[in-house]
Amino acid sequence: MIASLWQYVLSGVVDGAIFALVAAGFVLIYQVTGLINFAQGEFAMIGAMTAASLATAGMPTPAAAGLAVLAAAVVGAICYLLAIRPARAATGVTLIFITLGLDVALRGLALFVWGTNPLSLNAFSSGNAIQIFGGALPPQALWVLGSDVVVFVALYLFFRHTYAGTAVRAAVANPPIASTFGIPLRTFAFWSFVVAAAIGGIGGVMIAPITSATYDMGLTLGLAGFVAAVLGGLDSLPGALLGGFVLGIVEHVAGGLWSTGWEQGVGFLILVLVLVLRPQGLLGRAARRA
């Protein structure tokens, strides 16, 4: 029983690391633009599908992975320029519906381009499963966790140790006032979509060798990433990391102990509990005067 529970936790950590990457995209865009981008999961799908199809066509895996992340970033840029920027004067609800439309459109496009068959991607490194206190993780799990470390450390360094990062934090704190100092809010909004899409793409590329890639995987990943982001706090990147791991572990433990049908249900139950007891999320800040 204990051994099984430990295995569920380990598996949850791997999924949680992916959820955290998708959640980081949600948080990044929300912080900079105040917008919840429900198309975020599709960036992960584009990363996974592009990497898998390029690798299947014979491209070396590292090159396929790199191009896939680039493709996700380009799609993020196009989404912002074609769908979000022209409607920047619209209300928040309208913009949310635009992102929901983007989500459906990207999934439809993926269905058109790649079809319904799953695509596989080889693990980035071979070898036996890694044993940790009696539990086992596939070697790809190290790549997943490593990508979390790289992405979140890079985001930390950017926000805390660059003037551009400090300027983004100032813009997040008060966009109208930041603009009176010449801080370009539209440029930040554009790059938040590009970077969030790239991070989503990294998540998709990393998970593809474990789950394979399908045209509709973005829906599940997007929902999980959204729950993780709200769970951790929509204004907190560390919260996205924590929310991702909590959600991944809870889902796997619930799925293992009861039934896989319980996985998402329990995840959403935890979300409701957190929102009732701590509406700003686990690490988010309470609303303050602007």
């Binding site: 551009a164 300027a167 934090r169 704190a173 603009s179 100092f181 801080i183």
Partner: protein, 271 residues
């Protein structure tokens, strides 16, 4: 305080600016100029259109008609950030902080905005790599920016709170930081909206000293202030608004003695 003997060229030109909100005329055909190295007081009762005028000058709102220019460069129609990049900076009636930043970071981000000008923000990669690997030029530039931020905080009298989060500041400290932050961008025109309200006498003295220092360094300061005595003491010239219209302009002595102004505003304030 008297105006300079030979008035320098106008820095900021406000020409026939009108701003309507539906049927309400907030600013009505206002024309004036502000010169390099002078404090231009903007007086008027509540609702006279002073803050709307600042909003128009800083690009927050577009005028219904008329235009604003800075050294001949049209500002009207530009984005707020573009107007700021041209050298127009402002403060607000209620000081607005960048929550989540420290006091020093608040000034550093303003300094960096000025430092990097049109290329702002600087490339994050260009910044990250040197700070991580430690090339001497980059580190020196970073250290210099920090020293300049600390010097500004010292002049503003808030150096001891450099590492404090902005959320922890008292109201008066917020005002001092807001002014320090505005001066950090080395503005050509500085718009101050009631910078003395809510301050204690020591803080008022510090703010007035900062305003005089800014004037001495060549900044055109536009000062909206309800503390009439302090405004008349620090201003070189004054324009007076009432119901959106400019009803007088001149030296503080002329304006203080103008019967129209006394009737509309000063009389009430000085009673």
């Amino acid at each position: 305080m008297t105006a300079p003997a030979t008035a320098p060229a106008a820095t900021l030109e406000v020409r026939s600016v009108t701003k309507r909100f539906g049927g309400v005329v907030a600013v009505d055909d206002v024309t004036f100029s502000a010169r390099t190295g002078e404090v231009l007081g903007v007086m008027g009762p509540n609702g006279a259109g002073k803050t709307t005028l600042f909003n128009v000058i800083s690009g927050v709102q577009r005028p219904t008609s008329g235009d604003v220019s800075l050294r001949g460069l049209p500002l009207t129609g530009r984005l707020v950030e573009d107007v700021a990049s041209c050298g127009v900076t402002r403060t607000f009636q209620t000081p607005v902080m960048f929550w989540g930043l420290t006091v020093r970071e608040s000034v550093e981000v303003a300094l960096a905005a000025r430092e990097f000008g049109g290329t702002y923000p600087p490339s994050p990669l260009r910044e990250l790599v040197p700070s991580g690997l430690g090339t001497s030029g980059r580190l020196r530039a970073r250290a210099e920016l920090r020293e300049r931020a600390d010097a500004i905080l010292t002049r503003a009298g808030i150096a001891p709170m450099a590492d404090r989060a902005t959320e922890s500041l008292a109201f008066g400290e917020e005002r001092l930081l807001e002014l320090a932050r505005a001066l950090a961008v080395d503005p050509t025109v500085l718009l101050l909206d009631e910078p003395l309200s809510g301050l204690n006498p020591d803080e008022i003295e510090a703010v007035i000293a900062s305003i005089r220092a800014a004037r001495a360094s060549g900044v055109a300061v536009l000062l909206v202030e309800h503390a009439v005595g302090e405004l008349l003491a620090v201003a070189d010239r004054v324009v007076v608004l009432d119901h959106g219209r400019m009803i007088a302009q001149g030296s503080p002595t002329q304006v203080a003695a103008d019967p129209v102004v006394i009737d509309a505003y000063i009389g009430d304030e000085l009673e």
